[in-house]
Each structure stands twice: as C-alpha cells, then as structure tokens.
C-alpha cells in the first residue's frame, strides 16, 4: 500500500489563514454596523455606554447569531453533516451529532443573552436601582443553566471534541492573561484608566470568540504545523 494520507499543505494552510482573517474582518464589520444600529434604536449612547459595553454588544450579537445559526443548521441533518465533514457527505448527522450541536447552540445563545442583558438593563437600572438585583439574579440563573449545559457538552463530546475545548480554553487563558497583565500594569502606573471586572471579562470573552472562531476553521479546513504535531521547533 503506497498511498499516503492527504495532509494539509502550505497552500491549504494559507487558505485556512485567509479564511480566519476574512471571517474576523467580515464579522467585525457586520458587528460594528449592528452595534451602531442598536445604539441608535435603543438610545444606548452617552453616559450609559462605555467602550467595554460597545464590545459586549458586539460579542452578545455574535454569540447569539452563532447560536441561532447552529440551531438552524441542526434542524437539517444533511446540512449539519456537511458543516462537519471534510469531504463528500453520504451519512446524515447522527442523533448524537444533532444533540451536541444543539447543546453548543444553547451554550452560545445563553452567552449572548448574558452579555446583552446588562447593557439593555442599564437605562432602567439608572432610574430604579433596585432593578439591578433582579437583573443580576436572572443572569446568575442563566449562568448556572449554561454551566450545566457546558458540563453536558463536555460529557457528550468525544476525545477530539474535548481536546479542541481544552486547546481553546488554554489559548484563551494565555492570550487573555497576557493582555490583562499588560493592561493592569499600565493602569497601576497611571498610564491608562484602571480596569474593572466588566472590562476584564469582556476582554477575555473577546479572546474566547477570536480563538474559538479560529479553531473552528482549523478543525474544518486544517492547519499543519510542527507545534501542533508535538514536535520541537528549535
């Protein structure tokens, strides 16, 4: 048997990298327009909205949109199979694949709702401070629900799915920690404004979105590197 398995070449690496960069550019532009539209429609500008709030709006829309899209795709087993498979699809998505996709959709949508809710509650909270406690309680309930779904997703995934989750989590931690460190030090030295808990979580969620989206493209179209194969590169 002389045939060699097909592996991602440098040209397909280039294609994957282009796809990732293109998706960031398109997602960023569409998100920016959506945020501008929402700010106008819901009078979110002015004293109620910080830069972190604007990014939270963008992230919330992106998470909610991704969740809705995945939920829609999961209603058609052939379409779902095509989104996962690297070649011609003959087998429609199985029950397990549909279940995992719906769990992912619910986790993404809940993340979007939890990021958007505080922003849309800001105006009312400014008029009725007691409303903040009710909003906070509702978000805690959603967070507990999302945590349960995340655990179910982990348990339902196979070794490759779990490995992908671990890589996304580790990459998000590494990049987020570096950015938070640099921002924190600059703030402590008085070079920038201080960082709030909300700023920090929005920064981490931005990293998570960027890494998660990149990992989906890499999982779907491949990226061949010595580092990924566990080889020493020095």
């Amino acid at each position: 048997m002389s045939a060699q398995p097909v592996v991602a070449s440098s040209s397909s690496n280039f294609k994957t990298i282009l796809l990732v960069i293109g998706s960031y550019a398109i997602g960023g532009s569409v998100g920016y327009l959506c945020v501008k539209l929402l700010m106008t429609q819901f009078h979110l500008s002015g004293k109620f909205l910080t830069s972190a709030d604007a990014v939270a709006l963008w992230l919330g829309i992106a998470f909610l949109g991704a969740g809705a899209m995945l939920a829609f795709v999961s209603t058609n087993r052939t379409l779902l199979a095509r989104s996962m498979e690297g070649e011609g699809v003959e087998v429609p998505a199985t029950d397990d694949e549909v279940r995992i996709s719906r769990l992912q959709a619910a986790v993404l949508a809940l993340a979007g709702v939890m990021l958007l809710t505080p922003i849309f509650a800001l105006h009312r909270v400014s008029l009725h401070p007691g409303f903040a406690v009710k909003v906070y309680f509702a978000i805690v309930v959603l967070f507990v629900l999302q945590t349960v779904l995340n655990v179910r997703l982990w348990r339902a995934s196979d070794e490759y799915g779990r490995r992908t989750m671990l890589i996304v989590a580790a990459s998000t931690f590494g990049i987020g920690q570096a950015l938070l460190f640099l921002w924190g030090v600059a703030g402590r030295l008085g070079l920038t404004a201080g960082i709030s808990g909300w700023d920090a979580i929005i920064l981490l969620m931005s990293c998570y979105m960027a890494v998660g989206l990149g990992s989906w493209f890499v999982a779907r179209w491949g990226l061949r590197s010595k580092i990924r194969r566990g080889e020493r590169v020095l």
Binding site: P5, A8, S157, R163
Partner: protein, 65 residues
C-alpha cells in the same frame, strides 16, 4: 504520526460519517486523524485495529525526520 486511515476507509468504500459511526467518535475526529491534525488515543487506535483487523503498526507509523 502518519496513518493509512483514509486508504483503509476508501478500500471499504466507507465515508467519514460511516467510519465515525462504526468507531463511535465524531466525523470531525475522523477528519482530524486522516489529515494528521490529531493523534488518536490508544483506546481509539485499538478500536481501529480491531475494526480493520490489522495490527496498529500497519495503520499508524511514526514520522521520521
């Protein structure tokens, strides 16, 4: 780790989806192994060996420099 999974699958005219069902893993896992993005666990490698009725070393081969 190089592997002959794609060839073995093609010889049996199985799609990635079919093989994933037979091995009890996702089709993304099959795709990732075939494209050498993921080295399977020992447990999965043994399941593959049993399915194709081949020794593991006839399916997987370490990459040599």
């Amino acid at each position: 780790m190089k592997n002959k999974l794609r060839v073995l699958r093609a010889e049996r005219a199985w799609s990635q989806g079919e093989l994933s069902v037979r091995l009890g893993v996702s089709r993304q896992a099959i795709n990732a192994i075939e494209t050498e993005k993921h080295d399977p666990s020992l447990e999965l490698a043994f399941r593959m060996a049993a399915l194709f009725q081949l020794p593991i070393e006839q399916i997987f081969e370490p990459e040599t420099k």
